[in-house]
């Protein structure tokens, strides 16, 4: 069992308060509006099954520190995997170069603890769970998948987990530490019927220990993977052109992530390069639309107790009843706009500097019954599962890829369709969300968001919604 608290975790690597104060003094030698040290120690493990065998494993250890110095909106950054005082001071001196023309500021003289939430307590850290405990889970998921449907021909399974400890020491002497568990499981299935072969998969993820895998979750992991594979056997090509689109509750929150979420990250707005840059407090959607970004959901993949520059995390209303109310702020943008940070400063690792990022982004429930929404569409599509998306921040054009969907004809779901890209313009699409269901669902899949080469875990959610028109990239 690990007995070190998160705040004391890095003492095993020789990092104590006195050393961090000395490194910070080097970082701020030319002055700084802000500065921080970000220590990280990650231990991750994955095991995989294919060909009926649990036949591969991967482990990795990542250890290092990033040093950031901020002058106005200018950032100097350096990092090292070597936690010796010499190496850390060398990195600090490089980061400090951004402030070369400034004046030395007074470095902090003592350390004080900052506020940290507790959204993802675990009974056992993953480092205390042996590979021997992981292997039976993986075997069972494969066995269950084959037992579900005789059309299942091939099953691959993976279970990944990580223990990540971080320590942030800020220029004002504030110290915050966090232990961040993460686990992801996937089941990937290939099915055949006649001369047709199709693949489908499902994954689950959360900031949790091994007890995340309740029987309900294990059953859903297998059931969904098999269902997606065999359903695809009978799915046909999608239509092409503009049409009404109904998005099912859950992972269709990818629309929010791409259509508005990135555009509300405050770095794009303070630079004036987001299509939402001058729309604060203006109406951008109907009354039924309220969108939040929420880092406080217990054990959620997007949850964080404290952000990656030491600010407390929160639930932030981005759009309230159709009116734009807030951007997602890190400390640089919060200073720029004269507001409090929203706890949205995140980074992939100690090798990356801080950017405003989403956590769990979702739309609150509206008034409509989901069946009423589907029944309202004469001809369109109903999108169920998704894989990826992208946005152009300034133009506002976005796209997301639909793995599985259904045609809607005269208010009824008719034939299944698959593999189609949907494209639209964020502000235009938000204006045309005209029905919001009463069935908000937060998706617990393994979503990852990319920005400026950095990947961070996120989640998303949505009630059933109707979009009046989107361009559907089908083949007929």
């Amino acid at each position: 069992m690990h007995t070190l608290s998160p705040e004391r975790w890095f003492e095993q690597f020789g990092v104590d308060d006195a050393l961090t104060l000395r490194v910070l003094a080097t970082a701020t030698q030319h002055g700084a509006d802000d500065a921080d040290l970000y220590f990280e120690h990650s231990v991750s493990t994955s095991v995989g099954l294919s060909d009926h065998k649990v036949n591969r494993a991967h482990t990795s250890v990542d250890l290092g520190v990033g040093v950031r110095v901020v002058i106005g909106d200018q950032v100097g950054y350096a990092y090292t995997e070597d936690l010796s005082e010499v190496a850390m001071k060398r990195a600090a001196a490089i980061a400090a170069e951004i402030a070369r023309d400034g004046h030395a500021s007074v470095p902090p003289q003592q350390i004080r603890s900052g506020k940290v939430h507790d959204f993802y307590p675990v009974k056992r850290q993953w480092s205390d769970v042996g590979v021997a405990e992981r292997v039976p889970l993986v075997r069972e998921w494969e066995s269950q998948a084959f037992s579900r449907d005789e059309r299942v021909k091939n099953v691959q399974v993976g279970l990944s987990d990580a223990d990540k400890h971080i320590l942030i020491v800020r220029a004002d002497g504030t110290r915050v530490a966090d232990y961040r568990p993460m686990t992801t499981a996937y089941v990937s299935v290939t099915s055949s019927e006649g001369d047709k072969t199709e693949a489908g998969g499902f994954n689950l993820a959360g900031r949790a220990g091994i007890d995340f895998f309740t029987q309900e979750r294990q059953d859903r992991l297998v059931d969904e993977a098999v269902k997606r594979s065999v359903d695809a056997l009978h799915a046909g090509p999608a239509p092409a052109g503009e049409m009404p689109v109904v998005l099912a509750a859950g992972s269709s929150g990818i629309l929010l992530h791409e259509a508005i979420g990135h555009g509300l990250e405050a770095d794009f707005n303070r630079k004036g390069i987001s299509i939402f840059a001058d729309r604060m407090n203006s109406r951008i959607a109907s009354d039924e639309v309220t969108i939040v970004d929420d880092a406080t959901l217990p054990h959620d993949r997007g949850a964080i107790n404290v952000d990656d520059e030491g600010s407390p995390t929160q639930k932030t209303a981005l759009v309230q009843n159709g009116v734009l109310k807030s951007y997602l702020h890190d400390r640089i943008s919060a200073r720029h706009y004269g507001v409090d940070p929203t706890g949205s400063g995140r980074r992939e690792s100690f090798r990356s500097t801080v950017l405003p990022r989403m956590s769990s982004t979702y739309m609150e429930s509206g008034p409509h019954d989901p069946a009423e929404i589907i029944a309202s569409v004469e001809k369109g599509i109903y999108c169920v599962t998704f894989s990826n998306g992208q946005v152009q921040i300034g133009a506002g054009d976005f796209a997301f890829y639909v793995r599985q969907a259904y045609l809607i004809e005269n208010g009824k779901l008719t034939r299944p369709i698959k593999d189609v890209n949907l494209i639209g313009n964020g502000p235009k699409v938000l204006e045309t969300i005209d029905m919001v269901g009463n069935d908000l669902k937060i998706d617990d899949g393994g979503w990852t968001c990319g920005k400026d080469g950095q990947s961070v875990p996120v989640s998303q959610g949505m009630p059933t919604v109707r979009v009046a028109s989107l361009s559907v990239g089908g083949q007929s």
Partner: protein, 444 residues
């Protein structure tokens, strides 16, 4: 100072010996060290400057026919020993898979010397912070002076890095290599009457600093892309000829990458299974995987399995000639290994410019960029968001956005009707502009 790699070879060899001593039957160790610098300028000042040196060790090992792989950046000797012990202990809980054994040593080695690959520019050692600062200011100044109207913000990007790595296996492979890279570019964001703020950017990468384009070229490319973003929108859904610009051709070519892989073939997830020797495209469709191109961004002396890196024809005149088979999947499929992953892809060009070719089409869509989309390796179907320009008899008549292109791997390359004479060299996909007929686009 020229990079020296002896310390890395030493560490890799010591780690091989230690891992074997702790109970592994086979082991392959890679030790790498690198440095990189990035400078981003915006609106007249440095927005962000990042500099770092980085290091890491990775290994794969076999214990009693069981396989695992591992990586660490914590190279303190006592930590490394414990890491290796944990790795071996974890491996013993797995099930045997002898096909994971290291490859036949006769297949392993260098395909080219570092000198032949020419992937380390001596100018890297003399590239100073002052040089980066000067280049960044010049790019930014050129973007600002580009003559575009209603510019909101302009930026410049300069990056470079070097890496040194050593690879040692318990079966006798011991090699080291070093390389460098440079990248630069710029971006501008415009305010347009429709309330949008379209961005236009141009980025280039190369092994040699002198291979990168001039600042005037970067400026001209940003202006071209910016003008293509003005007043853009969709046109009617339908089938059009697609002129796929060289610099983005990799997105469509890439849809065959997954189905060509040994993993996809072995797990019945490939639409190209059983297609070796069959026609999968027109006579104009040829792809050569060539890891030996001097200064190539994808060039290498050996592959991930330490197999000798050499040119391979993947598709020749439309006929599929080779899959990507690493040692493991070669054994699983009872086929000779080729290589596990792509290096440089070379698509032969033609004699005409795409502008000349385009004149023959009353209407065609010039695809200049992609937005989102994906493909299904089992069926081969793909659907991507696109932007570009409508050409009528070769003349640009409308800028396009909010459109998709869709098709199938087993169909699209049969529609390849022309290749232009403008091979793009700033990528590991070295393709000319490609022309496809009768392609499905969706818009209004």
């Amino acid at each position: 100072m020229n990079p020296t790699t002896s310390e890395q070879i030493d560490l890799a060899e010591r780690t091989v010996r230690e891992t074997l001593g702790l109970g592994a039957d086979e082991v392959s160790v890679s030790v790498s060290q690198g440095s990189h610098t990035t400078v981003q300028r915006r609106d007249g000042k440095v927005e962000q400057a990042t500099e770092a040196t980085t290091r890491g060790l990775s290994l794969s090992l076999m214990v009693d026919d069981r396989y695992s792989s591992h990586g660490t950046s914590d190279l303190r000797p006592e930590a490394l020993t414990q890491f290796l012990k944990n790795a071996i202990a974890a491996t013993r809980f797995l099930e045997p898979d002898p096909d994971r054994a290291l490859p036949d040593p006769a297949l392993c080695g260098r395909g080219s010397t570092d000198a032949e690959l020419d992937v380390f520019d001596p100018a890297f050692n003399d590239y100073t912070p002052a040089d980066r600062s000067k280049t960044g200011q010049e790019i930014e100044a050129a973007v600002v002076a580009s003559g575009l109207d209603n510019v909101i913000s302009s930026s410049a990007y300069i990056a470079d890095g070097s890496s040194k790595s050593a690879r040692v296996t318990s079966t006798g492979f011991a090699e080291e290599t070093h390389g460098a890279w440079f990248a630069l570019g710029g971006e501008t964001t415009l305010a347009t009457p429709d309330g949008k703020r379209p961005e236009a950017s141009a980025y280039y990468a190369g092994r040699y600093l002198s291979d990168l384009p001039s600042i005037e070229t970067i400026q001209a490319e940003i202006v071209r892309r910016a003008n293509e973003r003005l007043n853009s929108g969709p046109i009617e859904s339908g089938k059009y000829p697609m002129i796929l610009l060289n610099q983005v051709a990799g997105r469509i070519l890439g849809v065959i990458g997954g189905p060509l892989s040994g993993g996809s073939l072995h797990h019945d997830r490939s639409c190209l299974k059983g297609k070796l020797g069959e026609s999968i495209g027109s006579k104009l469709f040829t792809i050569v995987d060539d890891p030996t191109i001097p200064r190539g961004l994808g060039s290498r002396a050996w592959d991930g399995d330490t197999l000798i890196a050499k040119p391979r024809t993947i598709v020749k005149n439309g006929v599929l000639e080779s899959y990507y088979l690493n040692t493991y999947y070669g054994r699983k499929l009872d086929m000779a290994p080729t290589t596990g992953g792509r290096s440089n892809w070379v698509i032969p060009g033609g004699d005409q410019s795409w502008q000349e070719i385009a004149k023959a089409f009353p209407k065609a869509i010039l695809v200049t960029g992609f937005l989102g989309g994906n493909s299904n390796g089992v069926t081969g179907n793909f659907s991507f968001g696109v932007r570009g320009v409508l050409l009528e008899n070769g003349v640009p008549t409308k800028n396009l956005s909010e459109m998709n292109v869709a098709g199938g791997v087993l169909d699209i390359f049969h529609k390849l009707s022309a290749v232009a004479n403008d091979t793009w060299t700033f990528s590991s996909t070295r393709s000319p502009t490609l022309v496809f007929e009768d392609v499905q686009f969706s818009g209004t």
